[in-house]
Each structure stands twice: as structure tokens, then as C-alpha cells.
């Protein structure tokens, strides 16, 4: 009995639901190290355009990326609810991404997630590896690794 519960828990995944523009996105919670309020970002000259710069997270230097710029959306507008999500990725270290708002944490079972096919034409969809259905709402699930990947040079 107890084993069954564990097994069931394992197949379900938790996601942090964030708002970027008008859409909702989910980030696999196992990659999330921390969520911090917006703070002063130090610009790094000559860096990639989608890097806003670096912040000081308790003495650690953490680079912060604008997911909006990376997805070719309008530039960020910082408000009271803007947050930086600190992702921790095994080999690559920590990275912050700016989101408009953090909504909630949801648990999705495998049958609630639809896989999304890769579409080379749509640069936005390259960052998504699935769509989660949570009640009435649809949540695009980020493929965490593709967020880090450098956009291919044209």
C-alpha cells in the first residue's frame, strides 16, 4: 500500500506556475532553487542581449536572464510582483530568470501533460516541451535545458 503511494507521487510532477505576458508557464520545481524579489541588476557590457546582468544572491554572483528577450517578446516591465526565479542546474550552476508574476504551485499527473512536438519555425515553442492541463487552465511547460541553450547562430 505504502509503496503504491510513493510510486504515484513519483510519477506526478510539481510545477511553479508563472506569468510571462498573457501566458502561463510552468517550471519544474526540482530545478528551482529560490524565488527572489526584483532587485538591482548590474549590467554586464558585451554580454548576450537576453542577459539582464548579474545580481548578488547572498554573496554569490548569479547571472539573470530575460526570458522575454530570449523568446522575442516585449521587453520586461518591472512591477511589484516581478520575481527572479533562481534555477539550479547540475553542471551549469545557478541562473536567474525574470518572470512577471509567480502564481502558484501545481501538481500534474502524466495524463494531464500533453507533449508538444518540436517546431523549428516557431522559436517560442522551442522552449516548451509540453502543455499541462490544470482544471480549466493551460500551462506551457518550460524545457529547462533549452532555456540555457544558446540560440543557434544564423
Amino acid at each position: 500500500m505504502a509503496n503504491n503511494v510513493v510510486a504515484e507521487e513519483n510519477t506526478k510532477k510539481q510545477f511553479i506556475v508563472v506569468k510571462i505576458g498573457s501566458e502561463q508557464y510552468g517550471i519544474d520545481i526540482s530545478y528551482v532553487d529560490n524565488i527572489v524579489r526584483m532587485q538591482k541588476i548590474t549590467r554586464v557590457p558585451k554580454a548576450q542581449s537576453y542577459f539582464k546582468g548579474i545580481i548578488n544572491l547572498r554573496g554569490e554572483i548569479v547571472p539573470v536572464m530575460s526570458i522575454r528577450t530570449k523568446m522575442d517578446l516585449e521587453p520586461d516591465e518591472f512591477t511589484d510582483v516581478t520575481r527572479i526565479i533562481i534555477l539550479k542546474l547540475e553542471e551549469h550552476g545557478v541562473l536567474g530568470i525574470v518572470v512577471d508574476e509567480v502564481k502558484e504551485v501545481v501538481t500534474l499527473a502524466p495524463d494531464e501533460i500533453d507533449k508538444v512536438a518540436y517546431d523549428a519555425k516557431n522559436s517560442k515553442s522551442n522552449f516548451i516541451n509540453g502543455v499541462g492541463k490544470h482544471g480549466e487552465e493551460l500551462i506551457s511547460l518550460f524545457d529547462t535545458n533549452s532555456i540555457i541553450d544558446e540560440p543557434e547562430m544564423v
Partner: protein
């Protein structure tokens, strides 16, 4: 016997002996008659054999034993050192090194018997000694060893004029002069303390005139198992010997009464090398005779197997082995402490206005105190991490020797500044780049012997490796007196490979052309050798050194030689920096590269080749506007006065225009991480300021 706990010491010591042997054999090749070197080699080979035996590494023991045999013969003058012998000896060293590598990896010496080398050694032995029968050579090395178990080392002491005078005076006052050599047990851990006790005991009866090694070295335990001294005393010899042997862990004390006239005569004898040998042999016989007279102790030690006496002795110098990771952790904590201190400093300065006089005064004093402590702490930790580059460069003379044979070019390596210290992590990583540069000099730099002769240069090419400290950097120069870089050929090659058009080539400076050599897979070697020419060379050197925060510069004069200048940062983690502001953004510039700071008015700026320069104290200095360089918003109107920071790299200077100066600060360098593309390398890192703000560190070296 479980010897695993000694494994580390064994590896360390074997490395030491190998290096020592390699150095000595190099010397021997140049001066085949040098008795001191031959003795040194004999001793090192003997220690190696003993150690290998104790650890149970039979193959290694056998090889070193045969090496020792050869030296035994050389030492006794039965054979001479030939270049063939030196070659074989180097092969032996390589083989021992290979054993050692195996030991490091698997705690086992491996299964290679190196029969070929042993065979060769024995052949040389047979040929060298002519009549040597195998039986004789087998026995030969063992006997004298025993005889020299307790050599009268005090006979090696040389006197200064003053010491001679003292001895003479003492003798004229009716005192006795005793030469004494004290042997401490190998396993004794506090040799210096034992030596001290011996001195204390004998000084109750007289005065010690001369020490060998020096009393300072004895105090610092810089000696093997024995030390010698001359004592003047009224007491008789037996009494002195008795009190000195009474000190525990003393293996043996040998000594005799001497006359001043004998001493000086012996010293004079020494000058003639052959006479010395004869004397030594005679004395060795004497020693043997005397040894018989010395009862219990000597008998005991004779019975003790030689390998025990020589094996696995830990040369105790007062050091502690510390894992580099522990030091890194310590360093990180010191860094955090400095950041915390910096924030206290900034709180202190911001609350200046409000706080009442006395308490704020006390606060500042304490902060200053804290500042002194953290700076001291940082320096100490840095010093702990510093090691001389010697450990890296000491293998180079051998490498050059091998290259010289392989390439059939005569060359010699001159090194200076081996004691220059660098952070451990840097030292660990500069070996390969330096090796590349040396190989490059040997292979591409130096011309062949015939060409050199034709050009009227000395036949033997010279390669120099000079290391020294310059401000916050350590400079290592690798130079040769070879052909230099032929920029025209490099240019042709670049054009041929489509890197530039011939027109572009016309306008390139020498430096720009030389930079091609640092491009990946751009080899200038006409034919590929196994030394270089595969095109993986200089680009790897450059990237390795840049990864360490350093850079490489080349100077070359065609026909006269070239010089590679490697510049490395002294410290990696914490630096003193000048904080500057550009459009409200804070940047740190390492104080080490800052020359002066100037205030200038805009109309002092002149133009040379459409570039802004200033002319200060007779030097024309190119200007760099940091706001433009760092893509800041331009200012609406030009300021009335500009702050210019003059920075230097080698012999080049540049002026950086900044908006504000924010004072000097100790900063902790942090990496920007892997995500941010920093290909321009202007930003070498970031630091957290006292108020939690992040400032970027400008690497001015990239601006030149």
C-alpha cells in the same frame, strides 16, 4: 609489514631523489670528473634502493641496485663517465619514474622488469671495468657501504681563517681538539632536538668551534642523519663520547683527537683531488679498525639489515601537509569575512553624520583594527598557498637535453628566478604552457647547428627562462637566440590559408601578424615532428594562460631571436582595486596595473591617426573612453575636466577616461559563471561591495 602508511612519504621522497639524480647526471655529463656529483648520485641511488626495498618494490630495487653498482665503479675510479652511460642512466630514471607512476596509481610498481636497461647497465659495467667479473661487481658495492656506515664526516669540514685561528689558540692553551660526527637513528623524529641535546652535553666540557652543517641548518633540521663538529675541550675523548652517546636516539658517535697541524695539513691535502682520495681511503681503513673497538652499538647496527637503516626514513621538516581543498575552503571564508568587513566599513561611513562623536570614533577605530586583521589574515592565507615555480621548471633542463639530442641541435637552457612564488593552482597549471614554449623555442626558434655556424652565432643555442615578480604579476619569459619570427612567411601563410587578403597583409603591424601564431591549427613548422608542428601549440598556450587570468606577449627580431612573455596574476581570489564609476555603474580596476591618475581638460586631447591621445610628461598616451567601450549612454555635454587613469601593461600605457573615482578597496573576485558570453574578456569577473551591490572587474590587460 604494512608499509602503506609510508606510501605517500615514499612517493614524495622518490620524486625528490629522482629530481636530484636527474640534476646530478646533467652536471655529470658536463663535468664527468666531478667527484662530489658522483658521490651525490651514488648516495641518491643508494637511498632509492633502500626505500624501494623497504616498500617491497623488488623491480625498482633491482634497477637502482644496478645503477648503484655502476656508480660504485665510477666512484672508485675503475670506469669513466661516457655519454653512452649518461643516456642509459636517463633511461633508468625514466624507468624508475614509470615505476613510481604505477605506485601512485595502484600502490604497486607494475610488472615491467626493464631487463633491457639492466642488461645495458651491466654491459657498460663490464666494458668499463674491463676485467670485472660478475661476482666481483655483485659484491663490490656492498662492502664499502658497511665500511662507510659511520664515516668521519667531520673530515670534510673546511675551516675559515677565523676558525683556524681559534683552534690554534685553543691548542696553544693546552686544550684538546676533537673532531666528532654524530649519527642519529634514522627513525628519530626530533633530530634537531637530539642534536641540541648533544651540543648541550658536550658544551659542558668545552666549546664547539665549527659545525657542519651550520648550526642554523641543524636547528632547522636541514641535515640527514649525521652532523659533525669540532670541539675544543680539556676533557679526554672518552668522556666526551660518553656524554654525547648518553643522549637517547643517538646511533653512534665517532670522534678522535686531532692536532691543529694535522688539520691544516689535511685541509691543504684536500685541494689536490687525488691526494684527498688516497687520504679518504686510508682513513676509511682507520675507521674500520676503530669501529671494531667501539663495542655494542656498532655491532648491533652492523647486524641490522642495510635496508632497514636506509629505508623509508621520513625527512622531517616542520611542515604540515594540507589538502588544497581545505585551503580553498579557508580562502572562501576569508573572502566572506572581507565582504562582511567591507559592509561594516560602508555602514560606518554612512552613519557618520548621525552618530555621536565618541562612539563613532571608537567604532572607526575598531573597524580599522578589523581591517588590519582581515588584511593580515588574507595575506597569510595567500602565502600558505604560494609555492615556488621550481617544482615545475626543474624538469626542463632534462627536457632540453633530450630535445637537443632528438633534434640534433646544440642548445643550453639557462634559468633564473626559480624561487619566484605563485599561487598553487597557477603553478599546477603553468607546466604545460611553459613546456610548449620551450619546445617551441628549441624546435622552431633555434636554427640548426650548421646554419648557426654560417650566421656567425655560437654553435650552442641558448634558451633562457627567467621568472620574476612585477607588481601584482609574475612574469615568466622564455627567450631564445634563434632565428626569430619571420613575419613575411607568417603573412604568406595567413594569405595562403585565406585568413587575410594580400591587401590586408600590407597594412598589418608586426604584432598583428605574430598574433596569427596563436590561432588554432596555425603551424609554421615545415614538417611535422613529434616535438611540435601539429598546430596544437601556441593557441593552447594562450588559452591555458588566459584561463589563469594571465596573457602572453611575443617580441621577436628576425635573425636575433624571439621572446615569449607570460604574465600571470600573483593572486587569484582577492586583489586591491580602485573603484571607479562610469555613468553610475561601478567598476573595479586592479591597482597593480594602475600607474597614475590625471585630471585633464578636454582641450588637452590631441589626435593621432584619428585616435584620441594625451601628451603627459613627454609620453603620448592613447585614450580609451570607458563609457564608449562599455556601451554606456553618451553624456549630453562634454565635462570640463576629465579623470584619466593611466594603466600599464609591460611597456605599453593607456589612459582610461572615467566619470568618478570611488577610492581603493580590497575586493574578492567572483566568476561571472558560464552563461554570460564574455568573449571580449573586458570583464574579468565581479565582486560584491559592502552595501551588497555588485561591481564588475575590468581587466585592463585586454585593452591593449
Amino acid at each position: 609489514m604494512d608499509v602503506s602508511q609510508y606510501l605517500e612519504i615514499f612517493i614524495d621522497e622518490t620524486n625528490g631523489h629522482l629530481q636530484n639524480l636527474s640534476d646530478c647526471i646533467m652536471t655529470l655529463e658536463k663535468e664527468p670528473e666531478n667527484m662530489d656529483t658522483i658521490n651525490e648520485i651514488f648516495r641518491a641511488a643508494h637511498s632509492l634502493k633502500g626505500m624501494a626495498g623497504t616498500m617491497g618494490f623488488k623491480r625498482m630495487q633491482r634497477l637502482t641496485h644496478d645503477m648503484e653498482n655502476v656508480f660504485q665503479e665510477v666512484r672508485s675510479g675503475n670506469m669513466s663517465v661516457t655519454s653512452g652511460l649518461v643516456d642509459v642512466l636517463f633511461q633508468c630514471l625514466d624507468a624508475i619514474d614509470a615505476y613510481l607512476e604505477n605506485v601512485k596509481e595502484s600502490s604497486d610498481e607494475g610488472t615491467d622488469d626493464n631487463e633491457a636497461i639492466i642488461q645495458e647497465l651491466n654491459e657498460i659495467l663490464a666494458a668499463g671495468t674491463g676485467n670485472a667479473l660478475p661476482v666481483k661487481t655483485e659484491k663490490a658495492p656492498v662492502k664499502p657501504q658497511e665500511g662507510e656506515k659511520f664515516p668521519k664526516r667531520y673530515q670534510d669540514i673546511e675551516f675559515s681563517e677565523k676558525e683556524k685561528e681559534e683552534l690554534q689558540k685553543a691548542e696553544s692553551r693546552g686544550m684538546n681538539i676533537y673532531g666528532m660526527t654524530v649519527f642519529i637513528q634514522e627513525e628519530c623524529l626530533l633530530k634537531a632536538a637530539r642534536a641540541f641535546l648533544v651540543f648541550k652535553a658536550v658544551e659542558d666540557y668545552g666549546n664547539i668551534i665549527v659545525y657542519n652543517p651550520t648550526s642554523q641548518d641543524i636547528e632547522d633540521e636541514k641535515f640527514g642523519v649525521d652532523f659533525s663538529f669540532y670541539l675544543v675541550s680539556e676533557e679526554n675523548l672518552d668522556k666526551i663520547l660518553e656524554v654525547s652517546k648518553a643522549v637517547s636516539e643517538i646511533e653512534e658517535v665517532v670522534g678522535e683527537k686531532l692536532k691543529y697541524s694535522e688539520l691544516t695539513a689535511a685541509a691543504e691535502k684536500k685541494e689536490a683531488a687525488q691526494a684527498e682520495q688516497a687520504a679518504q681511503e686510508a682513513k676509511a681503513l682507520e675507521a674500520k679498525a676503530e669501529e671494531k673497538a667501539v663495542p655494542a652499538v656498532a655491532a648491533q647496527t652492523k647486524q641490522a639489515p642495510a635496508k632497514k637503516a636506509n629505508g623509508g626514513k621520513p625527512v622531517t621538516n616542520r611542515t604540515v601537509r594540507v589538502d588544497i581543498e581545505k585551503l580553498d575552503a579557508l580562502m572562501n571564508q576569508v573572502s566572506e569575512l572581507i565582504i562582511a568587513k567591507n559592509s561594516l566599513v560602508s555602514i560606518g561611513s554612512s552613519s557618520d553624520g548621525g552618530a555621536s562623536g565618541a562612539s563613532s570614533q571608537a567604532f572607526h577605530e575598531q573597524i580599522e583594527y578589523l581591517e588590519r586583521i582581515t588584511t593580515g589574515l588574507h595575506e597569510s592565507v595567500m602565502k600558505v598557498r604560494m609555492v615556488p615555480i621550481e617544482s615545475v621548471v626543474q624538469k626542463f633542463p632534462r627536457m632540453i637535453r633530450d630535445l637537443s639530442k632528438k633534434l640534433d641541435k646544440k642548445m643550453e637552457l639557462f634559468m633564473t628566478g626559480e624561487d619566484t612564488e605563485l599561487d598553487r593552482t597557477v603553478v599546477d597549471q603553468i607546466g604545460d604552457p611553459l613546456q610548449h614554449l620551450l619546445r617551441n623555442s628549441a624546435d622552431h626558434g633555434l636554427e640548426s647547428t650548421e646554419v648557426r655556424r654560417k650566421r656567425g652565432k655560437p654553435e650552442v643555442g641558448s634558451i633562457h627562462l627567467n621568472a620574476f615578480q612585477e607588481g601584482n604579476n609574475v612574469i615568466i619569459e622564455v627567450s631564445d637566440d634563434g632565428n626569430g619570427i619571420d613575419t613575411d612567411t607568417v603573412k604568406e601563410k595567413a594569405i595562403e590559408r585565406g585568413l587575410i587578403t594580400p591587401e590586408q597583409g600590407e597594412t598589418m603591424t608586426q604584432k598583428e601578424i605574430i598574433d596569427f601564431l596563436f590561432m588554432p591549427s596555425f603551424s609554421m613548422a615545415k614538417k611535422i615532428s613529434d616535438i611540435s608542428g601539429r598546430g596544437v601549440g601556441l593557441d593552447v598556450v594562450k588559452s591555458n594562460i588566459e584561463a589563469l587570468g594571465g596573457d602572453v606577449e611575443v617580441k621577436s627580431v628576425l635573425g636575433e631571436g624571439s621572446k615569449f612573455i607570460v604574465r600571470l596574476p600573483l593572486t587569484l581570489a582577492i586583489i586591491q582595486a580602485l573603484m571607479v564609476e562610469v555613468r553610475g555603474e561601478k567598476y573595479a580596476i586592479s591597482l597593480g596595473s594602475i600607474e597614475t591618475i590625471e585630471e585633464i581638460s578636454p582641450d588637452e586631447i590631441k589626435f593621432v591617426q584619428a585616435k584620441e591621445v594625451i601628451h603627459i610628461r613627454g609620453i603620448v598616451i592613447p585614450l580609451i573612453r570607458l563609457d564608449q567601450l562599455l556601451d554606456c549612454e553618451p553624456e549630453e555635454k562634454e565635462r570640463e575636466s576629465l579623470t584619466v587613469i593611466i594603466v600599464r601593461k609591460g611597456d605599453k600605457v593607456a589612459g582610461l577616461i572615467v566619470d568618478e573615482l570611488d577610492g581603493q578597496q580590497e575586493i574578492v573576485i567572483k566568476s561571472l559563471g558560464k552563461y554570460i558570453n564574455n568573449s571580449s574578456k573586458i570583464i574579468s569577473g565581479a565582486t560584491v561591495l559592502g552595501d551588497g551591490e555588485v561591481a564588475l572587474i575590468l581587466d585592463v590587460n585586454t585593452l591593449f
